[in-house]
């Protein structure tokens, strides 16, 4: 395939591996008391009643959620469920939210989140939305930061492992998705040994700047490598995106050895402005595919899942100038662009240097056609023609780099378990600090944008042995907060996190905190089963379905006693929270319900489906401690045998009575 020379350096890899062992042996745990200055406690102390300076959004990794923390305190503020069902608030359990977890494979209750990306305006975090990828069943979600809720999810067709995702362009035009696992395109039953022939990679650009309208703008089919991480260009390099990749060997088994053969893999430089031109010129084809787009309607608060049946696709070679390969040492992980947009820093996981590419040299090299070959029609540039410099002997296992906007870069080293600060331009290491232990990504607020706010750096660690009280076989993963405002990095705080804090974003709190929605206006609700007051509640039967429209307000349900349900019925409790006040959710649970509970925000309507199996009387109650008489917020449902003559009825504050009938189907919207 490749027409450029390959060097096999098994011996070199051996040296690195033994050096890694040495490093682990040497990384004896220094007593943290000696490292932490007395000022550290003061630096992270946020007094009771005071606010943190930053919101940090940390991916939950294999819990499929996002953890929201305050910095510098490390206090956990919220968990935002994204790709996983969340029993705490009924996300993925209520009828209104289930469609968010629909995929072309059906309902998927779990995924693995890795890389949150804040929306940007002019290369700066603007605090409108947060995007995050699902690795396993490839998807990208948009979270609205006025409500801290997942509002939209788009599935990515022809992808296998959506890891290089969802990096964002400087005006939020696009978020990206690059496949980790190349797969047959379209997916089909082929021998895995046909990998080189049949398996393809894909890089997709998803239109991101219109809520509710995420869509694949174009999908480029690329050689079957493993695409890893990315970062959009900025300033002069705006219009480009840089993707790292490994396994250019195209191994399909035992990758740890077989994909570590080439001396160099690539960073792919992708010119999305050129691709927009190709798309306009009709070079993309609408190829049949089947994937879903899920979004929550702002007024009904009901998620919808729609199937999309085609994707605008093209082969890289059909759009000349769309993509170039930049040879980069040894299985690069991060491909990070500095705030000026000039430097592209690659973290070769097995490399002994940190190579830095120059954007301006790359453009000159493209103009001068300084190619050393091509792969499937994609030009491969000469390493020396794009190289700006190399950071020599920085550490072991460079992964990911962020920037402080003052001319310095900070690179995480997984194997030697440290963060190294070095200077852009001179490539000299100026400082290093240990992490506890095995840091993956690191994060500086705005550290991937044109305007970093480099007061703090957070290192996200995979291993925490001996750092916290032990908790059985599985220990917490953790974040570590460093002060990077001075010349020397200073460790301030360790804080355990939920799931795996894979990567994070942080933003000045002032950009978000005053935009919060406090409740949903009942008067504006277009929820199909809303009861805007107790007078609008009702019960009705539609064959084997019983619709119960109920209200919840401090401290009662209306109706609170329901009779006339029969075994074999499916009961749909449509509960509207009548509160129009901040932070007064009500919960709803019924004994024996096999799905979950509802947590209903003020002004919202949520539906719990319940199929009682046996005759009896079933208590129901409010699960959220809402008021002084929360414990009184309860009721019963009587379930009679099938065919019973007990009439449908409910008890409201108007007294025991047959309730007005709820309309069977969704109410007509005005």
């Amino acid at each position: 395939m490749a027409t450029f020379p390959k060097f096999r350096t098994l011996a070199g890899a051996g040296v690195i591996a033994s050096a890694a062992l040495l490093a682990f042996a040497c990384a004896k745990r220094p007593s943290s008391g000696g490292l932490i200055s007395a000022d550290a406690a003061k630096a992270v102390y946020v007094a009771p009643g005071q606010y943190d300076e930053f919101y940090a959004f940390m991916s939950g990794g294999f819990n499929g959620q996002i953890g929201v923390y305050g910095l510098p305190s490390g206090r956990r503020l919220k968990t935002i469920p994204v790709f996983s069902q969340y029993p705490e608030n009924g996300y993925g359990y209520s009828e209104e939210t289930k469609p968010m977890l629909n995929t072309s494979y059906g309902f998927v209750p779990w995924d693995d989140t890795h890389h949150p990306a804040l929306s940007q305006t002019n290369g700066e975090d603007d605090g409108r939305w947060l995007f995050i990828n699902a690795n396993n069943t490839p998807r990208i979600a948009r979270i609205d930061l006025t409500r801290f809720e997942t509002e939209e999810i788009l599935e990515i067709p022809n992808a296998g492992g959506n890891h290089g995702s969802p990096y964002i362009t400087q005006n939020s035009e696009y978020v990206m998705s690059a496949t980790r696992f190349s797969v047959p395109v379209p997916n089909s039953d082929v021998p895995i040994s046909d990998f080189k022939k049949r398996f393809k990679g894909q890089i997709s650009f998803i239109r991101a700047d219109q809520p509710g309208k995420m869509a694949i703008a174009f999908q480029m089919i690329v050689p079957g490598f493993n695409y890893d991480l990315a970062r959009a260009g900025k300033g002069p390099s705006n219009g480009w995106v840089f993707f790292s990749m490994y396994n250019t060997e195209q191994a399909n088994s035992l990758l740890e050895v077989n994909a570590s053969q080439n001396d160099k893999d690539f960073v792919a430089a992708v010119n999305w402005k050129a691709i927009e031109g190709c798309a306009k010129a009709g070079k993309t084809k609408n190829v049949a595919a089947s994937y879903v787009h899920n979004f929550t309607d702002e007024f009904t608060r009901v998620a919808k899942s729609e199937t999309v049946t085609s994707v605008p696709q093209f082969e890289a070679k059909d759009c000349p100038g769309a993509i170039y390969f930049l040879p980069t040492p040894k299985s690069p992980h991060g491909a990070d662009v500095d705030p000026t947009g000039e430097y592209i820093v690659a973290g070769g996981k097995l490399a002994s240097v940190i190579p830095v590419h120059s954007f301006s040299k790359m453009i000159k090299a493209i103009e001068a056609k300084a190619f050393e070959g091509n792969i499937d029609g994609i030009p491969v540039l000469k390493y020396d023609a794009t190289l700006a410099g190399e950071v020599k002997n920085p550490g072991l296992g460079p992964l990911h780099t962020e920037f402080d906007g003052k001319g310095y870069a900070y690179t995480s080293f997984f194997i030697s378990s440290e963060v190294v600060k070095w200077k852009l331009g001179t490539w000299e290491v100026v400082d290093r600090v240990p992490t506890y232990y095995s840091v993956g990504h690191l994060m500086i607020p705005g550290g991937g944008t044109m305007k970093p706010n480099a007061k703090y750096m957070v290192a996200m660690d995979k291993i925490t042995k001996d750092r916290y009280l032990p908790t059985g076989p599985e220990l917490t993963q953790s974040a570590q907060l460093y002060d990077i405002s001075g010349d020397k990095m200073k460790l301030l705080l360790d804080f355990p996190t939920e799931g795996e804090p894979h990567y994070a974003q942080a933003i000045e709190a002032k950009k978000i905190k005053d935009k919060q929605i406090k409740f949903f206006k009942l008067a504006d609700s277009k929820a199909p089963h809303v009861s805007r007051s107790e007078k609008e509640t009702g019960i009705s039967r539609e064959g084997k379905k019983v619709h119960v429209r109920m209200t919840a307000i401090r401290s009662h349900f209306s109706p609170d006693n329901i009779e006339g349900v029969q075994v074999g019925d499916t009961v749909l409790f449509h509960v509207t929270n009548l509160e129009q006040d901040w932070d007064v959710p009500h919960g709803f649970a019924v004994m024996g319900a096999t799905n979950g509970e509802l947590l209903i925000m003020p002004g919202e309507t949520r539906t719990l489906q319940w199929t009682p199996k046996k005759p009896g009387v079933y208590p129901m109650y409010c699960t959220d401690f809402c008021s002084a008489l929360h414990q009184e917020m309860q009721g019963y449902v009587r379930v009679s045998p099938a065919g019973s003559s007990v009439a449908l009825s409910g008890v409201t504050s108007r007294g025991p009575q047959s309730l007005p009938k709820a309309e069977a189907g969704p109410k007509q919207q005005q």
Binding site: I553, E579, Q580, D581, A628
Partner: protein, 199 residues
């Protein structure tokens, strides 16, 4: 009336016009559960929440103690207060135009009586809401406890600190009253020399 006094009364009339658009009185409620506060604004023809949903929230909370809902449409005073204010403004302009000291005195007395009646009515309104509790449905019943908000100033009502104070329109009415007082004082201080004779 000296010219200055006539101007003062005319200005007072204009300030009183502000009562048609600006709130007259404000009641704030703060509790541990409501550090951000809930509030009511009393306007010449209605009662509204400081924040859009505040009145609704206050009414919902009041159900615990069996207090009647505050429904602006059901408060008769709010129906005729705009007319009273209108008559006061027009008659004040009339007083300024006529420039007769005696008319001013009579008008001032009437104005004072209306203000006093208004404050008494507001106090009585608070008294009734605070005392006329539906003991049948009240959830929290504390013997001898009543929930009358203060006329002016602060008072602790269970977990809420209630503070009642004139709002912007109310303050303008206070200033108008002061201007009228000054006009009266000027009219009588200069009494020995008639303005015609000085001219």
């Amino acid at each position: 009336m000296p010219k200055s006094a006539r101007i003062l009364v005319a200005v007072a009339a204009l300030l009183m016009c502000a009562g048609f658009v600006l709130p007259l009185w404000r009641v704030d409620l703060v509790a541990p559960q409501y550090p951000e506060g809930l509030g009511m604004l009393i306007r010449v023809n209605t009662v509204v929440g400081v924040k859009e949903q505040d009145l609704n929230s206050i009414n919902n909370l009041n159900h615990y103690i069996g207090m009647k809902r505050i429904e602006p449409d059901a408060i008769p005073e709010l129906k005729y207060m705009p007319a009273i204010l209108g008559v006061l403004v027009v008659s004040a302009l009339g007083v300024a135009a006529l420039g007769k000291r005696g008319v001013l005195s009579a008008w001032t007395a009437a104005f004072g009586a209306v203000l006093a009646a208004g404050l008494y009515d507001y106090w009585k309104w608070g008294y009734e809401y605070g005392h006329d509790l539906d003991v049948e449905t009240a959830i929290i019943k504390i013997p001898d406890m009543t929930y009358q908000p203060p006329l002016i100033g602060s008072k602790q009502l269970l977990n809420f600190t209630a503070t009642s104070w004139p709002a912007s329109g109310g303050w303008l009415l206070v200033i108008a009253t002061a201007l009228v007082a000054v006009a009266v004082w000027q009219s009588y201080r200069r009494a020995p020399i008639s303005p015609d004779r000085v001219a």
